[in-house]
């Protein structure tokens, strides 16, 4: 809501600077988002007087003027406007002046005559809509004064919240100012000289559904002269953000800004007549097949729920949203019908959305209007049209529902208000505060019903005798319905800043583990390992979803959600790039890598802890995953070290790190040869179990398929990815550590080289060793891998370091040799391996 202070000052005393006023309004909940000073973009524009207006010697369409600005020699200025005459006072842009839009005025040669500046139109100054004529100022205007001092204005841009439709008006803002300063609000005059013919003989209105149109007040002004509005009116409308059109249309817009009452005016001649010769208006919903050409000259098919203003011939306007082109007030209009109605807010909101026509008018209707305003708006509009466009106002109003409901009362308990606010204001102070916003109060000695909840779940309680005060709410304050609303009003007027802050002293809730604990531990470990955390969009493109869809779906870790269901699509996406909720993280992470590579970063290591989303029947599911993507050097080159490119083993190392953080055992890997998005020879399923044998980590790791790197132009030689379900990622804590006694007896280490066929996975060899090793075998670590002579071509040798240790004694050589013998036997029959001497 743009509030020109010149306009506001007409309705309420303003003894504050604009900054102070803005601060007061903000502290009342009417947040001033900007203070605009109009006229600061006119420099060197001053008031001048036309001494003479002569024809230009060499151009028929131009005049040659002599202008004084009160001092110095008269200026010679060439002017193209025709509305000027000697003796008028006009805005003069002196050489060097700058006008709105940065237009610079200089001394210039115009058809052989030097022009020492320019006379300005209202449009050139951004003051009025008149671009043809020079702005003629009042004859008393002081010569030489900078125009900005006289016609500049300050406009407050107030963010009026949706519950305060009443404040979408100068009157409403004036009431807030009054509440703050104690000044009186001077309401605009609504008395009309309605000495024309009785309106009943000119206009008839019928409302078919009084739920959708609770009141329609009509007035008629005959014999008007359409023309521009007075300059000062145009200036106000422009400052308030409304483009002036003509005196009649401006009157309706003026009333909307001033009173907050949207008004529509019809050319009475274009409204169809009933038998009696009266213009006949019907408010009804649309009929099948009906259409209308609206003011914006678009022909619209009407939806059956649309509320219409119609005449016997059909629709003449979409109620509360936009008028029809055929009945628009135009230059030839002589008689005007004023519509000042109250419509159902929901109906207007739906209609405005349906046609994509949300306007200043529909915004106000949506928020609800008081019945009384229909009458005031009609009267005020008739008065202004009469004043600006002449004619005669028909006597009386047509009014479909003259009933103006009495103000609502809301009972409240001052003690409860204090208890909610944490204040100690007491009944009297609260009542004083409420009085300042026009809420009168009366102490109620008898028991009374207190409304504590309204809307979708209304609720009330009985207050014992003597506890309550009954407040009478001004009709325009539709937002005050329950006790808590009274509490806010009390706090607002008292000042939120005056509410004493303190730290809570109420009982604490019990301890609860944080669902972020495990996630944080995993994130911090990865960051410590040199991997950067990314956060990507959950909404991605259909192509990304399709191209990076996993075909394998390993079981989720214990307690974690499975990846399941079909994709969820946004029905009103902003762009195709953000149209589907992702199923996996891997696609998004490849894009992070690609983006950074394009910025010249060759080495990228990122992870994301994020969700996947799916739909199972009509239920939605969400699951947490850890995603990894590595490219370029995992150990970047330095002066003292060559670069080491990232490979799948780096990703596995990170997976093992995570397993350690969550208290799981060493992950095991199984070759994955048929996952289309991964390199068939370089990908694996990874899994790890916790001490209790539950699946604690489960997922896929591997090199991205070269086909995808090419298809997505990722510009990297290789890209390593992983996506894992991790127990606790969705909200679990870290498992507690179970201490295992450290043996005081020495451990025995043995290195064992096992020769196996190339096709035998290392993981199988390792598990054969572990299973045959007995209880004293504490660890098995692969430390070398060898191919070549003297081994056969299809053989390789895997060297493991075995560590034996007993908690209660020093192991004997014999015991260890026995264990090694058992292992050798097992290797022979389980994996066809032999021990290399």
């Amino acid at each position: 809501m743009r509030v020109p202070l010149s306009w506001l000052a007409e309705l309420v005393e303003l003894e504050l600077t604009p900054e102070e006023l803005a601060d007061r309004l903000t502290m009342l909940g009417m947040e001033v988002q900007a203070i605009e000073r109009r006229g600061t973009d006119w420099s060197d524009v001053v008031v001048g007087e036309l001494l003479a207006v002569e024809p230009h010697p060499r151009a028929d369409r131009l005049s040659l003027t002599k202008v004084t600005i009160g001092h110095g020699a008269p200026l010679q200025i060439v002017c193209g406007a025709t509305n000027i005459a000697a003796g008028q006072r006009v805005p003069v842009a002196l050489p060097g002046a700058v006008l709105p839009g940065g237009r610079r005025i200089e001394r210039a040669e115009k058809m052989g005559v030097t022009s020492e500046g320019m006379l300005c139109s209202g449009d050139e100054l951004g003051l009025t809509a008149d671009a043809d004529g020079i702005l003629i100022l009042d004859g008393e205007t002081q010569l030489g004064r900078p125009l900005a001092e006289l016609y500049g204005d300050t406009v407050l841009d107030v963010d009026v919240k949706p519950n305060r439709g009443d404040a979408l008006s100068i009157v409403g803002i004036a009431r807030e100012v009054a509440a703050s300063t104690g000044a009186e609000v001077r309401l605009p005059a609504t008395e009309v000289e309605d000495d024309g013919a009785p309106v009943e003989g000119l206009v008839a209105v019928e409302v078919e559904d009084p739920q959708l149109c609770t009141r329609f007040v009509g007035r008629h002004v005959g014999g008007v002269t359409i023309g521009p509005s007075p300059d000062d009116v145009q200036m106000r409308l422009i400052a308030a953000g409304v483009r002036p059109v003509s005196n009649v249309v401006d009157a309706s817009n003026y009333v909307m800004i001033e009173l907050g009452k949207p008004i529509h005016t019809f050319d009475a001649a274009a409204v169809g007549r009933a038998a009696a010769g009266r213009a006949r208006i019907v408010v009804r919903t649309a009929r099948p097949g009906e259409r209308i050409e609206t003011l914006d000259h678009v022909v619209r098919e009407l939806h059956p729920d649309t509320l219409l203003i119609a005449d016997p011939g059909g629709p003449i306007g979409i109620a509360g949203v936009m008028g029809g082109a055929a009945s628009e007030v135009s230059e030839t209009t002589t008689d005007v019908i004023i519509e000042s109605a109250v419509f159902d807010p929901v109906s207007i909101r739906r209609t405005a959305f349906h046609y994509g026509l949300r306007s200043e008018a529909s915004l106000r209707f949506e928020k609800g209007q008081e019945q009384r305003l229909a009458r005031l708006g009609a009267d005020r509009t008739a008065r202004l049209i009469h004043e600006w466009a002449g004619g005669s106002v028909a006597r009386g109003r047509v009014d479909t529902n003259p009933d103006e409901p009495a103000p609502r009362t809301v009972a409240f308990r001052p003690a409860r208000v204090d208890r909610l606010l944490g204040t100690n204001l007491g009944s009297e102070t609260q009542r004083d505060l409420l009085r300042r916003v026009g809420i009168s109060t009366e102490a109620e000695a008898r028991p009374v019903t207190i409304p504590v909840a309204a809307g979708s779940a209304p609720e009330a309680v009985e207050a014992p005798a003597g506890d309550a005060v009954v407040a009478t709410i001004p009709t325009w304050r539709r937002d005050i319905e329950i006790e808590a609303d009274i509490a806010e009003e009390v706090a607002r007027i008292h000042g939120y800043e005056a509410v004493p802050g303190r730290l809570p002293s109420t009982p604490m809730p019990g301890w609860r583990p944080s669902p972020l604990a495990l996630r944080e531990a995993v994130r911090e470990a990865l960051v410590g390992a040199g991997v950067t955390e990314a956060v990507t969009y959950a909404l991605v493109s259909p192509r990304l979803v399709a191209d990076f869809a996993w075909s394998v779906n390993p079981p989720p870790a214990t307690g974690e959600g499975a990846r399941e269901g079909g994709p969820i699509t946004v029905t009103n996406p902003l762009s195709a790039d953000h149209a589907i909720l992702r199923h996996s993280l891997v696609g998004s992470l490849t894009q992070v890598v690609a983006g950074n590579v394009r910025h010249g970063r060759d080495d990228v290591a990122v992870f994301e802890v994020g969700k996947g989303y799916g739909r199972v029947a009509d239920e939605t599911v969400e699951w947490w995953r850890l995603g990894l993507a590595l490219t370029g050097a995992f150990e970047p080159a330095a002066w003292n070290r060559p670069a080491r490119p990232a490979d799948v083993d780096d990703a596995k190392g990170l997976i093992e790190l995570v397993a350690g953080v969550i208290g799981a055992g060493r992950p095991t890997y199984m070759a994955l040869t048929d996952e289309p998005i991964l390199h068939p020879g370089r990908s694996a399923l990874a899994s790890a179990s916790d001490r209790a044998g539950r699946l604690a980590l489960s997922g896929v790791v591997g090199e991205l398929h070269p086909r995808l790197i090419e298809a997505w132009d990722l510009r990297v030689p290789r890209l390593i990815v992983a996506e894992l379900s991790v127990a606790g990622l969705g909200g679990g804590g870290l498992p507690s550590v179970e201490f295992e006694a450290v043996s005081r007896f020495p451990a025995v280490e043995r290195d064992l080289a096992v020769v196996v066929d190339e096709a035998v996975p290392a993981a199988d060899v390792e598990s054969a060793i572990r299973e045959a090793g007995g209880e004293n075998l504490r660890s098995v670590v692969l430390f070398d891998l060898y191919r070549g002579r003297p081994l056969a071509d299809d053989e390789r040798s895997l060297a493991f370091r075995l560590r034996f240790e007993a908690p209660d004694r020093t192991l004997t050589e014999v015991e260890v040799e026995e264990a090694i013998a058992t292992i050798s036997g097992a290797l022979g029959h389980r994996v066809g391996g032999r021990i290399r001497a």
């Binding site: 949706p162 208890r419 809307g455 609720e459 806010e488 802050g501 040199g530």
Partner: protein, 346 residues
């Protein structure tokens, strides 16, 4: 062999050894000499074999001389060893000198994402005041996202949340973390002090201060006596913890359908500190969160009796907090994942 001859031989050995030590180039030569002279089959031993040929009464005298000579030689060797050892250490240290001004062997550092980290920081601060973390779904239904929060269908306040809808009937992407209030109230009984961090979605074109996806942290405190004054006191503590002790704050009316009274909470402009600048739109203040006393309708939808229970809720954007703290000018950076941006954080 007589005593005099033996004594002369010993003296000669001392002199010879002394000369050899002086000529020894390094500690290894000293070691060799030590073996040659003092070893089991060394020259001193050989000389002393002559004792057996001496008369018995002279033998003790020779013994004394021999001990003196052994002591002298040991002393000479030890001194020479120390001398050469020091020189050798010195030359080794000199030889091992490196240019210590070169950079170290780099260890790659990752960094935590500033949105997530801001949420964690918010949780740590409120954790001190007994707030515990909960999470709720990102895909919600209209009831939880709007209706139970006192925002009926076709309510004009819906303009505050431009919504993305999905193809699952009745569902949408949550526009705020506030539906979590309902979930928490239906899960646990008061006293409640809850924080709900998470991702939210809006139908909003992406620009420097708006995004289709962003995070929010919701706070909820409900019991039998929590007041607007408690909200103010707690938010002041939060602002001081997050932005610095002594930062001025401002507590003013706001509007949300699910709170009554509603609050907007500002902190003094972190750029200009109050006089007004472009960053604070010349107001001297920056809004950091919205809040208010939980609306009775919302308490009721949460299964609580609004006559008995009361409390507050607040909601803030971690990105906004992060932007203010680090003076980041563009919200888009948070989802672009440019390592030049991410790498600036811990």
């Amino acid at each position: 062999m007589d005593l005099a001859q033996l004594t002369r031989d010993l003296e000669a050995l001392v002199e010879e050894t002394r000369a050899a030590l002086a000529a020894a180039p390094d500690t290894a030569a000293v070691e060799a000499l030590e073996v040659e002279v003092l070893g089991k089959k060394g020259r001193l031993t050989i000389v002393l074999r002559g004792i057996g040929q001496l008369p018995a009464e002279e033998r003790p005298l020779v013994g004394a001389v021999a001990n003196r000579v052994r002591g002298a030689i040991e002393g000479e060797i030890g001194a020479r060893r120390t001398e050469l050892g020091a020189a050798e250490l010195e030359s080794r240290l000199r030889a091992e000198t490196t240019d210590v001004t070169t950079p170290g062997r780099p260890i790659r550092r990752g960094s935590l994402h500033p949105s997530i980290e801001a949420m964690a920081e918010i949780a740590r601060i409120f954790g001190q005041f007994g707030f515990v973390v909960y999470e709720s779904p990102e895909i919600e239904d209209d009831e939880h996202n709007f209706q139970m929060l006192n925002i009926p269908p076709d309510h004009p306040a819906r303009d505050l949340w431009d919504t993305l809808y999905v193809d699952v009937p009745g569902h949408l992407l949550r526009t705020h973390t506030s539906p979590g209030q309902i979930h928490v109230m239906r899960t646990v009984k008061p006293p409640i002090r809850a924080l709900l961090p998470g991702r939210c979605f809006r139908y909003e074109a992406i620009d420097a201060s708006h995004g289709t996806e962003f995070f929010q942290v919701e706070g909820l405190m409900v019991d039998e006596g929590t007041t607007l004054g408690d909200l103010r006191g707690l938010l002041d503590e939060f602002a001081h913890a997050m932005f610095g002790a002594g930062k001025k704050t401002r507590f003013r009316p706001g509007y949300y359908p699910f709170t009554e009274p509603s609050v907007a909470f500002d902190v003094e402009c972190l750029v200009c500190g109050g006089p007004g600048c472009p960053a604070c739109k010349r107001t001297g203040w920056m809004t950091i969160l919205g809040a208010g006393m939980v609306h009775p309708v919302v308490l009721r939808h949460g299964g609580l009796d609004p006559e008995r229970y009361q409390g507050f809720a607040f909601g803030m954007g971690p990105e906004r907090i992060s932007m203010l703290r680090h003076r980041i000018h563009d919200l888009r950076l948070f989802l672009e994942n440019d390592l030049r941006f991410l790498g600036q954080f811990r």
